[in-house]
Amino acid sequence: MPSKPRKNIDLYALTWRLPIIIWQGIFFVGPVLFMLAMSFFLVVNYRMTEAFEFVNWTKMLSRGYFWDSYWYTIFIASVSTICAMCIAFPAAYALAFRASESTRRWAIFLLIIPFFTSYLVRTFSWFVILSKSGVLNGLLSNFGLGPYTMLNTNFGTLVGYMTLTLPLVVILQTFSMANIDKTLIEAARNLGCKSFAVIWQVIIPLAKTGLIIAAIFCFILSFGDFVAPFYLGGSQEPTLPILILDTTKSGQQWPRAAVVAIMMMGTLFVVAFGGIALAYRKRKGAK
């Protein structure tokens, strides 16, 4: 780049660099910081007033229902992650190693579609399919089975989470496995490694980074979603997002909601950081 005399302001560079700073500064950083501050505000007579009090924190964190919800959310999001990663794996393996280049591209092309289309309507469809008098039970009754209660259970919630996360997890897993050095697999086979062992000993370690990132995304999505546990899980056991929803929409207790939100963000931060550290950790002694 031509070096310019320091005095002149590079108008050209600033034109391109500034917009996002200004826009995200006002409309992203602002809201997030305000929310942090808001957790210390007070609600008096249904009106929120700015203050610096810890009462929201003490009240919320001392409530049993908060911690029940917290641990439940972590539990169900973890189960969701494990399920999604396991369910997606054979499909991703097939697409990465057994499918032709064009089949793989078509598959990803198709999978991207549901990822970007109305999650809400899809959830509603599942609601109807899974309900006691719904399509699935109707089908099963032809074989003399059921009717099964699938809604308002953890199973329902999980179906919802799968609807949300599976496309993305399959895509990410496929990418991470398709990009590993195939010659290493051949070398392993050549040295007598059997097919199944190859997956464990060679493919997964090589694709480790991409796989962990897929898991992190899956966890974040599941952890933060309110639609699945609310509509399909019946919010029998409210998750943290549902807590925020209730506290905001019904309770108008925005500061309390902010506390929950901050706890959520903190947890996700730790998970993401820990996951990334794990993903990029080198083996001891390796360069």
């Binding site: 109305s118 899809r122 109807v128």
Partner: protein, 266 residues
């Protein structure tokens, strides 16, 4: 080897099942939008278009559809512009605090929507910008700009690093080069970004719900219907929404990959 063929068949079936699971609710919604029964079940009822008639005669639905259109096109334009600026800045310049700079645009998708919704609601209320169409537009542009940036940045990676300098060398000022070289080169990615951000905005319901007040978009209408009783109208609206989203996403991908259909990069 027989075992290998069998495994391939099994894997093929497995992948098909995954696709079935992922697409089932969409197809289901489309089928039952023409079903006469109030509550979808097997065996199917009669074929009918009454639900479509119902929503097409509902002024709230039309207003929401219009709002959705305004929001998603405005969002697409703003987000793509922001994404382009950031992608170009990242491509061309090295400067201090580049890390935090990129984080500014790349962080929003990592924060759960419900939290973003709450934060936006509170902030907009404070600065007196809540409950309007432009509130949703602003919120959506924050959320979708990362996608635009990623798409355009990937395209810039494919550019010969000397291309910009070649244009300067031939007498093009930085601005002229931007206009005659960078933007034309990025056209497919810009088009793709426009459609992608529009698609994301079109389907977004959580933040819209919180921030829109009385100016509802289609997803918000859907949410409200779904909160109530089982109403087959949702399938009709849902089918429309699906078709539009799918079209947008397909177009976005087509633009991105159209180069590969033409020829390899010279």
């Amino acid at each position: 080897m027989n075992a290998n063929r069998t495994l391939n068949v099994i894997l093929g079936i497995y992948v098909a099942l995954i696709f079935a699971f992922v697409f089932a609710p969409i197809i289901f919604s489309m089928i039952f939008s023409f079903n006469s029964q109030r509550f979808p079940t097997i065996p199917l009822g009669n074929f009918t278009t009454e639900w479509y008639v119902k929503i097409l005669n509902d002024p709230d639905v039309w207003e929401a559809a219009w709002n959705s259109l305004v929001v998603c096109t405005s969002t697409a334009l703003i987000a793509t512009f922001l994404g382009f600026c950031t992608a170009y800045s990242d491509f061309r310049y090295n400067f201090r605090f580049k890390g935090p700079y990129l984080a500014l645009i790349l962080l929003p998708p990592t924060i759960p929507l419900i939290i973003v919704a709450l934060a936006m609601l509170a902030w907009f209320s404070k600065i007196g910008m809540s409950g309007q169409i432009y509130s949703i537009i602003i919120a959506h542009s924050v959320l979708t700009a990362p996608f635009a940036m990623a798409v355009i940045r990937l395209r810039l990676n494919q550019m010969d690093p000397d291309l910009e300098a070649a244009a300067w060398n031939l007498g093009g000022s930085e601005w002229a080069t931007m206009r005659h070289v960078i933007v034309p080169f990025c056209k497919p990615a810009i088009a793709s970004a426009l459609f992608l951000t529009a698609a994301v905005s079109f389907d977004e319901f959580a933040v819209s719900w919180f921030v829109s007040g009385l100016n509802k978009t289609l997803p918000v209408i859907i949410l409200e219907i779904v909160q109530g009783n089982i109403d087959p109208q949702v399938n009709a609206i849902g089918t429309f929404v699906f078709l539009i989203s799918i079209t947008l996403v397909v177009l976005a991908q087509v633009f991105l990959f159209s180069r590969q259909l033409k020829s390899i990069r010279p």
